[in-house]
Subunit: 348 residues, 2 copies
């Protein structure tokens, strides 16, 4: 159990640090830069094109997209900062204290659609909100494999767990469950993939778990986080930075391991079919997408997460005893990936 | 101006006719049969496969899908009847009088995805609700062309207008505007296509226009419909039947006119790209999709409307002075298609 970093002043201080908006914004831009640089290096064939945009009601961003790469069929990495008079209803419902205050939001978000069906699709988003007296961090990263490689799922989870554990050992168990709950397609009864970490509304005191489903497993775990409160702004910013910076070491080794593997039409067809689930999730459930569309965000940037090519097939079911069936049976249900070992593989 | 069919008893009678549920259900099944038979004939190569399904909480349906046809890359035509204890919140918000009553819904819905980019995608849905003292009919049909043929849009609208006009000359103007408003992608600022007709909550008295946007153009027109109230159940059922039966004569001639036209990769790519808008509409806005997912409907049947193959492309814009640009400039904005003539073509 890692000790939680606290000091005498932290018990009463839940205000943002001086220059909070600027500091978080600089981090978000740096995270975008770091990710884009490494992905270009990894791809070797294509590069990012950048669109700078402004939002009429306040703010703007830089959307970067790489297309037709050797590794990445499409990679979208966005930075944005947005401000305005009033948060949209979907957010105010969760944080009523922000009502009547102007708001500031900055964040980095990313979705990668690799060409090879053996390389998982991956999503990252970190964001920071300030609205009058309230502020919070949110974000996470989750992995969506098309083919079932347990060691990839385990590596991704362990790396993110390491980042969380450096701050408190109770973070990962809560954020991992929160991710499993959030990235869940109710109408399919499937997780979006093998998950990762997800958190929202992380601030000084209270509301550690204020998600869409307060009766879920993560809510039951939030009491454990309650014991480490109050937390300072600096502590939570440091946590968000560590999680954001853990993305490349969590994902890049998986790409390097899989990118040389040959595949055929069967695997490609399955990938295109499974990409349909990504579209369904993003358009039906995703909070970031809904927030963007509600705040008159830049549509092309918001929907940059959608895959370049997708199939739907009525009534598809994988054939028994195939890798595709294994994906459904094991990888589209929550698993304790951080504790996976080759020996336990038969049990999950 | 067509006279509205009414009689002395109609002014007090807004109850359903005896056997209402069974009669509407039989009509909905017959409509599905008629459409499937004609589409098979038109396609000539593929046939519909049927899945019968039951809903645990009450009801069931028959989903029919044709795939890999000569004309239709995918055609889904569904019939369903569903009952339960309580309508879902999204419907109760529109019809609070139904609160606390069990409900019955039956309907036919259809989406056709032709192979040729010159043949428009088309959607039809007619439905009937009863919940305690309240009942209503809803539905419509709308056309989504990929390439701009004004005479096709005009033919589709005129045929549906003829069906409406047989009941009252004020129906078409309202239902046409309602369709333009309903099938609108706010985040793209585009209509889904050239529209057609759409109505909801059609019952004996009041509520002629109770859509999602009471400030829209159709609302302004609903006063004109108010003058023809009260209407008998029989009158509205007859209207729904006439509109449903008008689908084949509205659409089949367009298919016959376009199916022989050759196309290339450019047209196919544009079609796949534009199909993305269909996905965006159905998953983000469509009332039928949301109703289905909220009532624990059969996911495969609900999402049978999604296209078999779709592209997204960040930042796509059509080149000026191309047919693709013409689609955006003229066909994705509301137009008075019923009054189109070759001579007016320059003005729209």
């Amino acid at each position: 159990m890692t000790a939680f970093k606290t000091d005498a002043t932290s018990t009463t201080n839940s205000s943002p640090a001086p220059g909070s908006k600027e500091r978080v914004k600089q981090f978000m831009k740096q995270l975008q830069d770091n990710i884009c640089n490494r992905l270009e290096q990894l791809d070797g064939a294509s590069t990012f094109k950048e669109d700078l945009w402004e939002r009429e009601e306040g703010g703007g961003g830089r959307s970067r997209i790489m297309r037709d790469g050797a590794v990445f069929e499409q990679a979208g990495v966005g930075f944005s900062e947005v401000w305005g008079d009033q948060l949209p209803p979907s957010i105010l419902a969760q944080r009523p204290e922000a009502e009547g205050h102007s708001f500031f939001v900055t964040g980095t978000s990313m979705v990668l659609h690799p060409r090879s069906p053996y390389i998982p699709t991956v999503h990252l988003n970190y964001r920071y909100f300030e609205a009058g007296p309230v502020w919070w961090f949110g974000g996470g990263a989750d992995l969506t494999p098309y083919y079932p490689f347990a060691e990839d799922a385990a590596h991704f989870h362990r790396t993110l767990k390491g980042a969380c554990d450096a701050h408190h050992s109770e973070y990962y168990p809560v954020f991992k469950r929160w991710c499993d709950e959030y990235f869940y397609l109710k109408h399919r009864q499937e997780t979006r993939g093998v998950g990762g970490i997800f958190f929202d509304y992380q601030h000084g005191t209270g509301g550690l778990y204020r998600g869409h489903d307060k009766n879920g497993a993560a809510a039951a775990y939030s009491n454990q986080l309650g014991e480490i409160e109050p937390r300072r702004w600096e502590d939570i910013f440091a946590l968000a930075q560590e999680c954001g910076n853990a993305f490349l070491p969590a994902y890049v080794p998986i790409v390097e391991r899989r990118k040389g593997m040959e595949y055929g039409e069967r695997e490609r067809n399955f990938q295109l079919y499974r990409r349909g689930r990504y579209v369904e999730f993003n358009l039906v459930y995703d909070r970031g997408t809904i927030f963007g569309l509600q705040t008159n965000g830049r549509t092309e940037s918001i929907l940059m997460s959608l895959p370049p090519l997708v199939r739907w097939e009525y009534g598809y079911k994988p054939e028994p005893n195939t890798p595709e069936a294994d994906l459904y049976e094991t990888f589209l249900k929550p698993q304790d990936w951080a504790n996976w070992t080759p020996a336990t593989s038969e049990n999950i």
